[in-house]
């Protein structure tokens, strides 16, 4: 238990990281939603589109929780001084990299699932090396560090904004399913 408590990043460190994840995950969702919107507008009412949007918001919230869990999990794996003690900064950099890896995994999905297991493990190792490299960059180069700090704090506004929207989405979904 003590080990877990020591390893678990503190909340003030987690918030900028979560904000960065929100920026990427919700930002991507908004972009995709905008692409889809015209075809829905040809067909369903505004109210229905609000409902579709709401389901997506809740799903993306769940996505951000899962992504945060991955980064927190990494802080248990990587040396403590690398990520754990510097979670707000290194974690913010890793949030961007995680977004990139997930996009890559989606894009190359069919190829990846059909690789032999040894090569799949190699891909995972490369992904992990990428995370390590990102942490090193942030630790070694002040410019990267500054960028990560700025990004983490600026993204805070998105956490509040999308948090509020998601809460509204929950209300919409509850009304539609319980009424």
């Amino acid at each position: 238990m003590k080990w877990i408590r020591e390893r678990l990043p503190a909340w003030p460190g987690i918030f900028p990281v979560y904000s960065a994840l929100v920026f990427w995950a919700y930002g991507w969702y908004m972009l995709m939603f905008m692409f889809k919107l015209p075809s829905w507008m040809l067909e369903v009412t505004f109210g229905e589109i609000v409902a579709y949007f709401s389901y997506g918001l809740i799903l993306v919230f769940w996505d951000t929780v899962q992504m945060l869990a991955i980064l927190v999990g990494l802080s248990f794996v990587l040396p403590r001084s690398w990520l754990n003690d510097d979670f707000s900064v290194s974690g913010t950099a890793l949030a961007g990299l995680l977004f990139f890896w997930i996009m890559f995994a989606q894009f190359a999905f069919v190829g990846l699932v059909n690789l032999p297991p040894s090569q799949q493990i190699a891909v995972l190792v490369v992904a992990l090396l990428g995370f390590i490299l990102a942490v090193l960059l942030v630790r070694r180069f002040p410019a990267f560090r500054k960028l990560a700090v700025w990004f983490g704090s600026s993204a805070g506004i998105f956490a509040y904004l999308y948090g509020f929207l998601t809460a509204l989405g929950v209300v919409v979904v509850l009304i539609r399913n319980l009424s």
């Binding site: 067909e43 579709y52 389901y55 993306v60 996505d63 997930i102 699932v113 979904v173 399913n177």
Partner: protein, 519 residues
């Protein structure tokens, strides 16, 4: 305020049957409807829709390959409609027409994942059937399930889409079934869509992809000797895979345990792409046979044609998959004959649309209304029928609902746009116009401005393409009696005929657009 009437004996029996059905429906080897129902003096109706079954690829309708020997056995004691048209070239509008007896411009479910317009949902076969006998709906196709969900107030039993699948229904589907349509469209078919390279959701889509592919791969390996191209599956949206024999076993049990006078609608996914023929049919159609070479389809841009080698191969797989489905249909037919199901019910075999493998085009996600896309089988076996009746007059999928209602002694609703099928209460009328439409790019709540429309009248068929961006409007006129392959466009050679049919099509379009055009 009005008092609710006390529950009648009939309602009570129905409730009993339903409660039992709900509890027992998990297990297909038990009766679905113990308890039975009243109204036992009129026959029931079982409709089996095999998705994407083109009449032109069935040996029953003269196709060069022996794809449907078992359906031919069924046909030998049925009415066979040789010029039967779907109102559309894909699932949503084609199915909605079967279930509502109306054309796509009326029911408005003419987009992908289309829904019947809100003010029309109470015009459907299940409601018209009445609530004095069981009405059951089952489909493997999510787009059809959207429609069944719209009609769920008039369905006594709506079997779960995953019921006969190898994979289980995801937990969120169970949670959100009160809002099936919106949650399906938002989550299953958009945010977590399996097909595209990038889904709107990052993690959940990736998890869903992973679990689907790993599960499917394991099933493919396990059943590789039987299904060398992989086990049957639906395309991306509901991510389900299944064994055809399980699904047909389920149908057998369900049809056997139907109470008298029931209405059952079964809509299976096969032989829809992706094709999963059984091993025994894999090489049967590697016969070198080729259909006549046809002109490239009108809307295909130069250079965008599908490669001929791919067209030939896909057609071969499609035919092999049809033969696979036919084999299982043969088992179902034997079962129904043996168990007396055919004696107690009108049994209907049809499809919602076809598929095309020619003119540089593959499949049915396109704007065409050539014969392979809209001509579908319609075979109806009546209780006590022992011989085959062939009907060659053109008929439409909107005719099915009114015919089945009339056959079982029910009134034909005014909303129905079809007529009684010849040989089942109706007369042959060669001059009756039969319409089909594809209008995916038009507004559902506005006038139809971009579409392909067709009219079949007598031996002729006129196709009209209009409103497509960057393409001139155009027409194709075919003489289907002398040119069944639709090879030569007669618009120039038969100006008077062309002008008449064009005027009729134009008048129809004006008529159906009228409610949406502001003065």
């Amino acid at each position: 305020m009005t008092m609710k009437p006390p529950i009648s004996r009939r309602d009570f029996l129905k409730l009993l049957a339903l409660t039992a059905a709900t509890f027992l429906s998990k297990s297909v080897d038990r009766l679905l409807f113990p308890g039975g129902k009243s109204h036992s003096d009129t026959p029931g109706v079982i409709i089996l829709v095999l998705d994407t079954l083109s009449a032109l690829n069935m040996s029953l309708h003269g196709y060069a390959r022996q794809t449907t020997p078992n359906m031919e056995r069924f046909a030998s004691r049925s009415n066979v409609y040789h010029s039967h048209y779907s109102t559309a070239n894909f699932t949503s509008p084609g199915t909605a027409s079967i279930l509502t007896g109306t054309h796509p411009w009326t029911h408005r479910a003419f987009h992908n994942e289309g829904l019947v317009s809100a003010e029309k949902t109470d015009s459907n076969l299940f409601r018209w059937w009445g609530d004095d006998s069981i009405r059951l709906g089952y489909t493997q196709n999510a787009w059809v399930d959207l429609l069944l969900d719209q009609f769920s107030s008039w369905l006594d039993v709506h079997l779960n889409l995953y019921k006969f699948n190898l994979n289980k229904e995801p937990f969120y589907r169970k949670l959100l079934k009160n809002d099936f349509s919106a949650s399906y469209r938002s989550l299953d078919s958009f945010s977590m869509e399996l097909d595209p390279n990038f889904s709107a959701s990052l993690m959940s889509a990736l998890m869903r992809k992973t679990s689907f592919y790993l599960g499917k791969q394991a099933a493919d390996r396990e059943h590789a000797s039987q299904y060398p191209m992989g086990v049957p599956q639906t395309v991306n949206d509901v991510a389900s895979y299944f064994l055809l024999e399980d699904v047909f076993d389920g149908l057998m049990e369900s049809s056997k345990s139907l109470p008298p006078s029931a209405l059952a609608y079964f809509h299976l996914y096969p032989p829809h792409f992706p094709y999963a023929p059984r091993a025994k049919f894999m090489d049967v159609f590697k016969d070198g046979w080729l259909p006549p070479v046809k002109p490239t389809a009108r809307l295909v841009k130069a250079g965008d044609e599908e490669a001929e080698t791919r067209i030939v191969l896909e057609r071969e797989h499609y035919d092999a998959y049809i033969a696979t489905v036919d084999e299982d249909f043969g088992r179902l037919f034997d079962f129904m004959e043996r168990e007396g199901v055919l004696e107690k019910n009108y049994v209907v075999l049809t499809s919602d649309h076809g598929d095309i493998y020619e003119r540089g085009v593959i499949g049915h996600t396109n704007e065409y209304l050539y014969e392979p896309l809209i001509r579908v089988p319609l075979i109806i076996s009546s209780p006590g029928q022992t011989s085959r009746v062939d009907v060659r007059t053109p008929t439409s999928s909107v005719d099915l609902a009114p015919t089945l209602l009339a056959l079982t002694g029910r009134p034909i609703p005014i909303a129905c746009e079809g007529v009684l099928l010849p040989g089942l209460g109706g007369e042959e009328d060669a001059q009756r116009p039969i319409f089909s439409m594809d209008a995916k790019s038009s507004h559902v709540r506005g006038p139809i401005r971009t579409a392909t429309l067709s009219i079949r009248k007598g031996q002729f068929k006129l196709i009209w393409y209009f409103g497509y961006e960057g393409l001139e409007d155009g027409f194709e006129l075919f003489d289907l009696e002398n040119d069944p392959e639709e090879m030569s466009n007669l618009t120039a050679a038969r100006p008077a005929l062309f002008s008449d049919l064009r005027a009729e099509l134009d008048a129809k379009l004006r008529e159906v657009n009228a409610p949406f055009v502001k003065e």
